[in-house]
């Protein structure tokens, strides 16, 4: 993935809870074998409604999605993250993410920003009132700042994931440094452990 240090941009307020990954990218898009080009499918059911927040011109070009709690629940489809990235989002803010979705985000380079419900509500209202509101997500300092809205909060990001974002590191490359340990573990597995052979 590409390194990410700070993201300063405007935001789209998606004031809905329990936005599952079927909504983020409907399954008809999952037939594709490519990793790119999913932006057109992002929220495609909801975007059919001209009033849907993503269709509003005042939010064009925004790079942060502010969503309600339980964002990205359901299906493990990483296509949901690819669709958000391909559309132009770099971070998603929510009080709570689906576990698999959040992991997929950190693998693909989309920053999941968890904030308290109270902060999320304030941010939602601020972005709805002022679509041009500038937000900064700072990976290095683990902060979300929107000065004009009086928001300046930290968010959880473990040191390892933070380092990978800052350096744009390939997870698999890091694991392959431990090939010896993997081999040693394998030699200790019981003989009756199942194989598909």
């Amino acid at each position: 993935m590409e390194p990410v240090r700070t993201i300063t941009t405007t935001a789209v307020p998606l004031d809905r809870s329990d936005v599952d990954t079927d909504q983020i990218i409907p399954s008809v898009w999952l037939k594709r074998v490519e990793r790119t080009g999913f932006g057109d499918g992002l929220f495609s059911q909801w975007r059919a409604d001209p009033d849907f927040v993503l269709n509003r011109p005042e939010h064009a070009g925004a790079g942060i999605l502010v969503a309600g709690p339980n964002f990205g629940t359901g299906s493990s489809r990483e296509h949901a993250v690819w669709a958000l990235l391909d559309y132009g989002f770099r971070a998603v803010v929510s009080p709570r993410f689906g576990d698999i979705f959040a992991t997929n985000c950190t693998k693909a380079g989309l920053l999941p920003v968890v904030v308290d419900q109270e902060v999320a509500d304030r941010l939602m209202r601020a972005v709805e009132a002022e679509p041009g509101l500038a937000l900064t997500v700072d990976v290095d300092h683990r902060t979300l700042v929107a000065p004009a809205a009086g928001i300046d909060v930290g968010f959880p990001l473990d040191d390892f994931t933070r380092w990978r974002f800052l350096e744009g590191l390939d997870d698999i490359g890091l694991t392959l440094r431990h090939t010896d340990a993997i081999g040693a573990f394998e030699s200790g597995r019981p003989a009756w452990a199942p194989t598909t052979a």
Binding site: P26, S76, E78
Partner: protein, 475 residues
């Protein structure tokens, strides 16, 4: 595996976790590196992972711990015909070519062992207690019914497991959902898990592995336990697990990939050591009285929006949490329902019996018993999709296909089918379906489709009545 006794009393998930740590994440925040015993692969979430392996010049470390099948994108009728959708055909061909190139065993469409990935793992005896199992599919939690630590992963992680047979993972929290007592007559495993999700919510298990415990859980068959663990993800849990016991061992013994002879005895010794130690503590605990459970039906667009079959569609204005109230309002609009409508007064257009939640032999037998000698309601579309070609063959041997067909059901071949709306089996806009699947999300079974989650028994009875009803009240 082969772990040393420790002083601390451990839960089932902690034991399985600790016995698979290749490398403990010492440095600040670095996750544990976990060994993966079994990697299940399907056509939808794997092509980009194989492409990435080729791009980086990496290979599959353990093809012998990997098994692939085609399930999400396959038609369930006309298997001998060319696929109508060229994009789907390309994806299935990609799986075939990838498995051939990397030496992975594949059960493709039409194969006697093909089926939904979470049906065939247990069926083949590959799903075993104390193992770690992953798949690029959130319902991998199903396998936890055997006391394995099994969880869904994204495509980047699929690539990671293919290349290294490991995953860097952060240790999840532990959560016990304990259901004591006897389940009342007519209450199935599906009703239990729908009630649990209704109680703890779609985020109730977030960050945790749920261990289902208590006499009501122990009384369930392996099929029922799989139904429970399957929908753990609908409560947001990382995984769901049930301690292995004699029911588990009886299910496994003699299956194709289960150990045999002396190896079986060795495996049993290990498996018997897996249940949580007496006095082990959980980060969170939820207790539910089995006697208070009843058949459930979902009314909304997330799986926590459920009501008893005897109940009514709730009034959003009476919900305490404003976010839940707003979600309920949106759901009722989408579902075309009015607050206060009795669940039994909701008429359905379609009944779908299938999916990794409820398409095993026990599910089909239960549904067949309800419809035997009766007829599907006039104008209602009803279909049964066995979870695997082996389930299909077994059901046909028992004559269940005739029971369903005589009643007016379509009898199909194995696949995910109408659970997820990416193959030809879909709802039309506004079409209302009683479904034994796991997700009632907007458009899940086809754009504009309206899904109500139910047990196989209630689905079967509803197919006869044309509206939600129980087997006891069927026409």
């Amino acid at each position: 595996m082969g772990r040393q006794p420790e002083q601390r009393r451990q839960t089932l998930s902690e034991k399985v976790w600790d016995s698979h740590v290749v490398r403990a994440g010492g440095r600040s925040g670095e996750p544990d590196l976990l060994y993966i015993d079994l990697h299940l692969v399907h056509e939808v979430t794997s092509p980009q992972a194989f492409d990435a392996l080729r791009l980086t010049g990496r290979t599959v470390r353990r093809p012998d711990l990997t098994l692939a099948t085609a399930d999400h994108n396959v038609p369930t009728l006309g298997l001998d015909l060319p696929l109508a959708d060229p994009v789907s055909a390309r994806q299935l061909e990609a799986l075939r070519a990838n498995c051939e190139e990397f030496g992975i065993r594949l059960y493709p469409m039409g194969h006697a062992n093909q089926g939904i990935v979470h049906i065939i793992g247990p069926e083949q005896g590959l799903t075993q207690p104390g193992t770690t199992i992953v798949c690029g599919d959130s319902h991998t939690s199903t396998h936890g019914a055997f006391g394995s630590l099994a969880f869904g992963i994204g495509t980047s992680e699929v690539e990671h497991v293919l290349a290294t047979q490991t995953l860097p993972q952060r240790r999840p929290g532990t959560m016990a959902v304990t259901i004591e007592g006897d389940l009342p007559a007519g209450v199935t495993a599906k009703d239990v898990i729908l009630a649990v999700i209704g109680r703890i919510g779609t985020g109730g298990g977030a960050g945790h592995v749920v261990e289902y415990r208590g006499s009501a859980i122990r009384s369930l068959s392996m099929e029922g336990r799989m139904t429970i663990c399957n929908m753990s993800i609908e409560a947001g849990a990382r995984a769901g697990m049930i301690a292995p016991d004699d029911t588990t061992f009886a299910y496994l013994e003699g299956r194709a990939h289960a150990p045999a002879g002396k190896a079986w005895e060795e495996a049993l010794d290990h498996w018997r050591s897996l249940p949580a130690d007496d006095g082990a503590t959980f980060d969170r605990e939820v207790a539910i009285d089995a006697a208070g459970l009843s058949p459930h039906v979902s009314w909304g667009t997330n799986p926590s929006q459920v009501a008893p079959l005897d109940g009514a569609v709730p009034d959003p204005d009476r919900l305490d949490d404003p976010a839940q109230a707003e979600a309920a309002r949106r759901a009722l609009t989408y579902m075309g329902l009015r607050a206060g409508t009795a669940i039994r007064d909701i008429a359905v257009d379609t009944v779908f019996i299938g999916s990794c939640t409820n398409s095993r032999m026990e599910d089909l037998r239960a549904a067949a018993a309800v419809v035997a000698g009766r007829k599907v309601h006039d104008g209602l579309r009803a279909m049964v999709v066995p979870g695997s070609m082996r389930v299909k063959a077994q059901a046909e041997e028992e004559g269940l296909d005739r029971v369903f067909v005589d009643a007016g059901f379509e009898w199909r071949s194995a696949g995910c089918s109408m659970c997820l709306g990416m193959n030809p089996d879909q709802l039309s806009p506004g079409e209302r379906c009683a479904s034994t699947s796991n997700r009632n999300f907007e458009g899940r079974q086809g754009p504009g489709g309206r899904t109500h989650l139910v047990s196989p028994e209630v689905a079967a009875a509803t197919a006869l009545a044309g509206r939600f009803t129980s087997p006891e009240e069927r026409p």
